[in-house]
């Protein structure tokens, strides 16, 4: 403010500014509930956050912070950018123990635990197999047996060695590469939920391309967030409806991502143990308290119903819904199973409706 400015003008200007600020704050911080929904492209998919609150500025700023965090995770965990931390690990991991950022180390550690628990049906070293089947080049192809055998030698979570005390990672075989595509998006959803919660937001839905979802709280007046599970053959037809509150879910499915060669249809979901696409499964939805875990466990799809039953016998608080082929004319049947030890955390909800509401959970 210049020395020649009249005092009355200074006072008037300040008063005007103050009044305008009050009006703006009153508008944005009114008790009236507002809904803020935004999407953001990252990690090869589209993240969506829908959040409720009284202060739209806080909602917008928090969601922006969420997207910044997701971008940070993408830059750290992508295997397609040579400068990412993961790319560095993949390049040097077989040469020497590479020091890893704590968050990434914890995620890799969790991934390896899931891999071990699922007997390799989920495996973060599966990348070369996906490449052999042409998934990264955008064209499906069937690798020769020789190729497959060669590739399978470079797949195996057991080859990944972590040293938590020194925060390092090391591969005991050259050619091993990490691909976090089967868990990172769920991790990003969980990170998003943490940021939302830290900022006092109690009702929000976060999704990564609708394949991994966390339902934080519930929309106003509702008991949970309504999630429609699509018909495995037709994305426009609902198969089931589930209400979620303070809970996560992830899906794995053939959906559109298949290819036909030589009259045979191949799934894009590979069994890392055999190197072959999974057959006789349409889609799987799993329900857990964490999106990181639900995304990894959506690979119960690979295990199938029977092996998943065995898995759930020793792992608590998981529900899995399988859609299985049941005839030649795009028919399917459902199988819903849950952990032998199952109790929802307080203030959480997983409520199926329709046919599944009263069904016996095996």
């Amino acid at each position: 403010m210049g020395v020649f400015t009249a005092p009355w003008l200074v006072a008037f200007t300040r008063l005007t500014w103050f009044a305008a600020s009050c009006l703006y704050l009153a508008d944005t911080m009114s008790d009236e509930l507002k809904r803020y929904e935004a999407t953001h492209a990252s990690m090869g998919t589209k993240f969506t956050v829908a959040a409720y609150g009284g202060d739209v500025r806080l909602l917008a700023a928090t969601v922006e912070q969420v997207f910044e965090e997701i971008d940070r995770l993408h830059e750290q965990m992508t295997r397609y950018q040579p400068g990412s931390e993961l790319s560095f690990i993949n390049r040097e991991g077989a040469s020497f123990p590479v020091r890893v950022e704590p968050g990434l180390l914890a995620l890799i550690e969790k991934s390896l635990r899931h891999s071990e628990d699922m007997g390799g049906a989920f495996d973060i070293t599966v990348g070369p197999l996906m490449e052999a089947w042409g998934f990264f080049r955008g064209q499906g192809r069937v690798p020769t047996q020789e190729e497959l055998q060669s590739v399978l030698k470079c797949i195996g979570y057991q080859r990944v060695k972590l040293d938590p005390s020194n925060r390092t990672i090391h591969f005991d075989l050259s050619g091993i590469e990490l691909d976090l595509g089967g868990i990172a998006k769920g991790y990003a959803v969980d990170r998003a939920v943490s940021i939302l919660s830290e900022n006092g937001i109690t009702a929000a839905l976060v999704s990564s391309g609708m394949s991994s979802i966390y339902a934080l709280g519930a929309p106003p007046g509702e008991e949970g967030w309504k999630i429609i599970l699509r018909d495995p053959f037709d994305s426009t037809v609902p198969a089931d409806v589930v209400y979620l509150k303070n809970f996560a879910m992830s899906t794995s499915g053939n959906y559109n991502q298949f290819f036909k060669l030589g009259g045979k249809t191949y799934s894009h979901i590979m069994d890392p143990r055999t190197g072959m696409p999974v057959e006789n499964m349409l889609s799987t939805a799993v329900f857990l308290a964490s999106a990181t875990d639900s995304e990894a466990l959506s690979k119960l799809y690979v295990l199938g119903v029977d092996a998943s039953r065995q898995y759930l016998a020793t792992h608590a608080n998981i529900q899995a819904l399988f859609y299985l082929p049941a005839g030649p004319e795009k028919q399917f049947k459902r199988v819903l199973i849950q952990s032998a030890s199952y109790s929802l955390p307080p203030d959480s909800l997983v409520k199926f409706t329709g046919d599944l509401a009263g069904s016996h959970i095996a």
Binding site: K34, R35, E37, H40, G209, M210, S211, P219, G221, Y255
Partner: protein
């Protein structure tokens, strides 16, 4: 060239009467003519004036329209005369003088596909002769032709006048407009359109004396050049998408690459402004075809990009703010990947090739997103066939005209003012009292 031009000009004048005069009066007084009576079950007999490239495209489509029969053709250029008769395939009577065609009492409707400078006079003559009219775009050539056309159409209310802006009958464009009206793009503020080629835009001339007759698009006496022949289609799309006609235009252009004696521009760039501040940025060049042909219609919620036979929809990632609780319905397991989104969601499933990679397959799948948001699936169509089928239905059954007088006039004005902006280097405003 001048001598050859004179020869050609005389040829034109022989058949077109006072075609090059600014305003041509109808040959028949208004009371003389009666609209052809075409009952719903009877055959619609039509004649066509001008059987060059575009005329034969129309004729080829029209021969497939049930209930319509070509009984006469007219052209002054022998190869086109032969091509017209062959394309019609119905042994039509050929007339060198189109007025003899108009004299035939058994003709219900007439297609006009001649050089632009002849449109207005032929349209007026055809209306006066009591025939229904299908006239190729651009509807008219000179600003002062608008009023007589309006007057003549008003004087013949029982006669159909349809303008050949065939995108109006193209399922892809209709679908895009349906999406726009339903709010898929939000507020449409910008249209970018171009028609780029890497060719001289000439037609082969077997004898130099036919140069001006065959390549009439190159000469200002007959043609509005790129604006009239190419922009007219795309201006119509912008008018349709924005729901208005422009209020002003600036432009530039020149003969800067094909310095071959042509008089019309070999490149043109214009910016049309609409009443709500919306803009149409249009470009045509004849020295590079990399970006070929397309229209990109942009709103604050999305973009539709249309090229020939292919339409893609791109969403804008914009936050949505609303008051109070909303009905929450979230579909799980319906991933639309960013890769698919970046390449656009196809408006027609069949625009995705069958033998593609995963991204294209996801695009096909992502099409279902549109269906789920209420946009129905419709098959692609042949716009020429559709517009002529519509023309027959308008004549026989009173069906609304696919592209009528107002659209045709709005389009022609934009072409005329666009060329004026290029020629003068000045911003051209639409007259205050139009329509």
């Amino acid at each position: 060239m001048d001598d050859q031009g004179e020869v050609t000009r005389r040829e034109f004048l022989k058949t077109a009467g006072a075609a090059t005069a600014v305003v041509v009066l109808p040959r028949f007084s208004e009371g003389e003519s009666q609209p052809a009576a075409v009952s719903p079950n009877s055959r619609l007999n039509y004649g066509i004036i001008g059987t060059g490239t575009e005329g034969c495209t129309l004729l080829r489509a029209f021969t497939r329209v049930p209930g319509a029969h070509c009984v006469a053709t007219s052209d002054i250029y022998p190869p086109n005369q032969k091509k017209g008769i062959e394309t019609a395939g119905s042994n039509p009577q050929l007339y060198e003088d189109y007025r003899q065609l108009l004299d035939r009492k058994d003709i219900d409707a007439v297609l006009i596909a001649t050089p632009l400078n002849l449109h207005a006079s032929m349209l007026l003559d055809t209306l006066s002769a009591g025939k229904h009219v299908f006239i190729e775009k651009t509807m008219f050539f000179k600003e002062e032709e608008e009023a007589p056309i309006r007057k003549a159409v008003a004087a013949h209310p029982g006669q159909i006048v349809q303008v050949g802006l065939q995108r109006r009958s193209d399922a892809l464009y209709q679908y895009a407009m349906e999406m726009i009206r339903a709010g898929a793009l939000g507020k449409v503020m910008f249209v970018r359109a171009q028609w780029h080629r890497n060719s001289d835009w000439r037609r082969p001339v077997p004898d130099a004396k036919f140069e001006r007759l065959i390549n009439w698009r190159m000469y200002r006496e007959y043609s509005g050049g790129l604006m009239a022949e190419l922009a007219s289609h795309q201006i119509d799309v912008a008018n349709w998408a924005i729901g208005a006609e422009p209020v002003s235009v600036v432009g530039t252009g020149g003969i800067d690459y094909w310095k071959d004696g042509r008089e019309t521009c070999d490149n043109a760039q214009t910016i049309f402004e609409y009443p709500g501040g919306q803009k149409l940025l249009w470009s045509s060049i004849l020295c590079n075809a990399r970006y070929d042909f397309n229209e990109q219609i942009m709103g604050d919620r999305g973009t539709i990009e249309i090229t020939l036979g292919k339409g893609l929809f791109y969403t804008e990632h914009v936050a949505k703010v609303s008051q109070g609780a909303s009905k929450e319905n979230w579909w799980a397991g319906a991933t639309v990947t960013e890769a698919a989104e970046q390449q656009g969601l196809p408006l027609f499933p069949e625009t995705v090739p069958a033998h593609e990679g995963f991204v294209a397959r996801e695009q096909r799948y992502a099409r279902e997103w549109l269906i789920r948001h209420g946009y129905k699936t419709i098959p692609a169509n042949d716009a020429w066939f559709e517009e002529l089928t519509n023309f027959v239905a308008s004549v026989r059954d009173g069906k609304p005209v696919a592209c009528g007088l107002d659209q045709g006039i709005a389009d022609a004005r934009a072409v005329i003012y666009g060329n004026r902006a290029i020629d003068t280097g000045k911003k051209v405003f639409w007259p205050k009292t139009t329509g």
